[in-house]
Amino acid sequence: MFAGENFITSKLDDAIGWCRKFSLFQYPFVTACCGMEYMATACSHYDVDRFGAGFPRFSPRQADVLFVVGTISHKMAPVLKRICDQMAEPKWIVAFGVCTCTGGFYDNYATVQGIDTIVPVDVYIPGCPPRPENVLDGLIKLQDRIQQQHGTGIRPVLTPEDRARERSFTV
């Protein structure tokens, strides 16, 4: 069956999307207790490597996915913004846990009320902390989103209004 010369036909976008979604280099931006659940997901029992996302790169310039894991304070916000800006396109951002989604129960002077107020977010994983199954579900949703994106790397989730809003933030 595989003898001789073989070929398959596909759309270029589909092929690029398939390659991208199974080779996710992630940057774990871990600030709080959600990091435990992140580690549980990354270890062998749940094995995030099954989804091609098992390789954390601790440099934003070599990462595709930014996992924002844990509470972000206003003091930390410029750091997160800079890390996000340093990542090369195509890039995706995952809000891990309720603190990054909405601020969670930290409704106070110190905490950013959802990181989507400072950086664009592709997937929200709620939970305090989210269970590993929940994280894997979010990861699969991110893979679906990557598969659907155009091969040029332009993020369909960003509307022109989003881009204007992103540019309006200053550090």
Binding site: H74, K75, A77, P78, K81, D107, N108, Y109, A110, V112, Q113, G114, T117, I118, F169, T170, V171
Partner: protein
């Protein structure tokens, strides 16, 4: 157990400095005048009868809305404030409440590791002049504690070598643990005011 209470020993050594003293469930507390804190602290550290070699905690209390009903909608605006006067709480030996009408109290917890005793020292600080002498020259650990109290309550520690914010960022305005700082007030460095 005929050892005199630590607060009584302080009273006999500094009769002019002590404002009040009380005991609550084995914890000994003495309230002293602000100008005598360095003197008393030096004695607590160096006197063989005290040997307080550990400053366990240094913090402050804002009594400006103490024992008042919460203001504002939702009822959570005054979260963390005692709603009852101490005398209304049934107890065989109730806490008499703050010793003065001053808005703030700076609270020191001293521990002696060799003698295994501890003492809480409270110092009233007026709102009109929120200043008190630093004890960071006596206990190195007081350095960051005093910076935290300055950051959160806006009480200045004169003689502190580096009195700047420790938890919040330099551009932050106000002192968030003061009871008149609104719970919902936000001061983001970047992004919209959320």
């Amino acid at each position: 157990m005929n050892v005199p209470l630590l607060s009584d020993q302080i009273k006999s050594k500094f009769p002019d400095a002590v404002i009040a003293a009380h005991q609550y469930r084995g914890d000994d507390t003495v309230t002293i005048r602000p100008e005598s804190i360095v003197r008393v602290a030096q004695t607590l550290r160096d006197d063989p009868a005290f040997q307080m070699n550990l400053l366990m905690d240094l913090t402050a209390v804002d009594y400006s809305k103490f024992a008042q009903e919460p203001q504002g909608k939702g009822g959570h605006i005054n979260a963390g404030i005692a709603l009852k006067q101490p005398s209304d709480i049934p107890d065989a030996n109730p806490w008499p409440g703050p010793a003065t009408q001053a808005r703030f109290e700076v609270v020191y917890h001293f521990v002696s590791l060799p003698l295994k005793h501890r003492l809480r020292v409270k110092v009233p600080v007026e709102e009109s002049k929120p200043e008190i002498d630093s004890i960071s020259a006596l206990w190195g650990g007081a350095n960051w504690f005093e910076r935290e109290v300055w950051d959160m309550f806006g009480i200045r520690f004169t003689g502190h070598p580096n009195l700047k914010r420790i938890l919040m960022y330099a551009q932050f305005e106000g002192h968030p643990l003061r009871k008149d700082y609104p719970v919902t007030q936000r001061q983001p460095l970047i992004g919209p005011n959320n």
